[in-house]
Symmetry: C2
Subunit: 339 residues, 2 copies
């Protein structure tokens, strides 16, 4: 299937939040600012301005749509939109330290460029900066918005800690995986979809439906990412083929594979706990075993089932119809773009 | 000089904030809670309750006194008191990762017990938990208090990043050091001394004087810590003799030594940039060079000068006289206890 065109909303959002992020970044200490703006692709390693690469800005786009969904102008949610993006950046910078990943989006990660200490400080500063951006909002609903952002950020941290706790274990089931992914990925997307409505002064039940929509969309998104981590086209994904098998990362298809009885499951469990280096022959054999299980079909099914669940939440939300349509298209895009 | 008795206030404060910290900790994910309660000395590495060691609780004691200073009951500042202590714990846990320190207060550090990943997550979770504790305060001045806590926490992070940036440099002057220490240590003590007054609804100028008091006290405190890091009695400090020379840590006396012209200064600069292992003979020679400069006297002078500055701020504050006396005694205790 050809990838559908990227919704204009995603392209536009980064331009909208950029001034908020730039003003916030200017309040940071020089070491943290250099690291953050390098991470964002605004500056090279010497601090010189470079042409910014525009990422997807999915989370802030959800925040702005969420405000419009309850009849508030998107501008009222700009600080919320910048805050969720900054939280996301904090998690990427710290995750890269913990996972010892040296490259992200084709550039060195913050720790590999500036050292582990500076990367830890930069992540700390960004997590707090997100709070400060939202604290500076004039909305009467600011306090509720802060509670929402804090809860989601704690969930993301808890999800990352679970992910670490799962390392090297072959007894992780699909439910364990979903618990982890709903925290690590679902929570911040759920918060994003709720935050605009909160800042727009929406009722609790609308907020709850939108949060449910974002959270299920997050799980669907993660399932697709995990599918790409095994079967994605290396040229398009920017990672080697079967990357997660190579890295022995317990993604959804691999967890499904490890939970499969019989020889194929056993081969995957052996691969995941092996201390042998991941050579091409080993990866190919592990991939064959994984494909002998039902992991690929079940992973795609999971993505589509969570997407369907997201749309049920969306239908239940008492929001403007044109925004419902746009949110629905966005969620569908995020899930179907690569399948 | 004999160490003066520990003020009763410090002993009492930990009991007061303990229930707030315990309730907050119970909201964390299990990995982070285990790490935090291990760090606090409430639990052993298996999560079993042990007899809690009571630390100094200097920062929360300042918060409670700061509320009483402006005529508010200490109870009104309990969440603020717990929040500054939790911020302090976040910084300790992350600093230990960055400095690769394996021991703190005679026990393993969080990263050396639970791994780097879990320690980073635990620090992240605690920084955010401090915000959440304060967000849960019912005070009409909660928003101002949050701004104060965020500013101070950003300053602490910026100070730690500077500390890292200074590593291996011999051109750090006393002003650079004071800039770093006023952020890394002064800011959170300044915030502590301000926060109770803010939560108690005090006027801006009272808050400012109290913040100045705490901040100068923080610099004085750090100068004493740095003196102890060279000349402290190993049995009382719990570190080897001349510990900061051994670790080649650019503390205040060492920065003073490195800035001293002549042979002694040159010997210290050579020691600090040497790649040789720190053997007993080398440490003793470096200590001799350091003592040939005026570093010890100037370090003690700096501590006493900052203490005097703190007391000037305190005198300027329009607060209850009996609390002024208690704050003054506390600051004097903190500085003079070991000199």
């Amino acid at each position: 299937m050809n990838a559908p065109p990227i919704p204009a909303r995603l392209e536009r959002t980064r331009d909208l939040i950029m001034p908020v992020m730039a003003a916030a970044s200017a309040t940071l200490g020089p070491e943290m600012r250099r690291a953050a703006e390098f991470h964002w692709g605004w500056r090279d390693e010497h601090g010189r301005a470079i042409e910014a690469r525009s990422g997807k800005a999915l989370r802030p786009a959800l925040v702005l749509l969420s405000a419009e969904a309850v009849g508030a102008p998107a501008a009222r949610a700009l600080r919320g939109a910048a805050a969720v993006e900054i939280v996301h950046d904090f998690t990427l910078i710290h995750d890269d330290v913990m996972d010892e990943d040296t490259e992200r989006r084709g550039r060195p990660t913050v720790w590999s460029q500036f050292g582990v200490g500076t990367a830890i400080c930069a992540g700390d500063a960004l997590m707090l900066l997100a709070q400060q951006v939202l604290l500076g909002d004039e909305s009467p609903h600011r306090h509720l918005a802060l509670l929402e952002l804090c809860d989601a950020t704690q969930a993301v941290i808890a999800g990352q800690a679970l992910d670490i706790a799962y390392e090297g274990r072959v007894d992780i089931g699909v439910d364990d995986y979903l618990d982890m992914a709903s925290k690590k990925t679902g929570a911040l997307l759920g918060c994003s979809a709720a935050l605009g409505a909160i800042l727009g002064g929406a009722e609790t039940d609308v907020v709850k439906s939108l949060r449910g929509f974002g959270s299920s969309m997050g799980l669907a998104f993660q399932a697709v990412e995990d599918w790409l981590g095994i079967w994605g086209d290396p040229d398009r994904v920017g990672k080697p083929a079967a990357s997660d098998l190579r890295q022995r990362k317990a993604s959804l298809p691999i967890v499904i594979g490890m939970s499969t009885p019989g020889a194929a499951g056993e081969a995957i469990r052996r691969w995941m706990t092996s201390n042998e280096p991941a050579d091409a022959a080993g990866i190919e054999a592990a991939l064959k075993s994984l494909e002998a299980t039902d992991a690929e079909r079940l992973t795609i099914n999971r993505a589509r089932r969570e997407l369907a669940g997201a749309l049920v939440h969306l239908d239940a939300a008492d929001i403007a119809d044109e925004i419902r349509k746009e949110l629905s298209e966005l969620a569908t895009f995020v899930v179907e773009r690569s399948l």
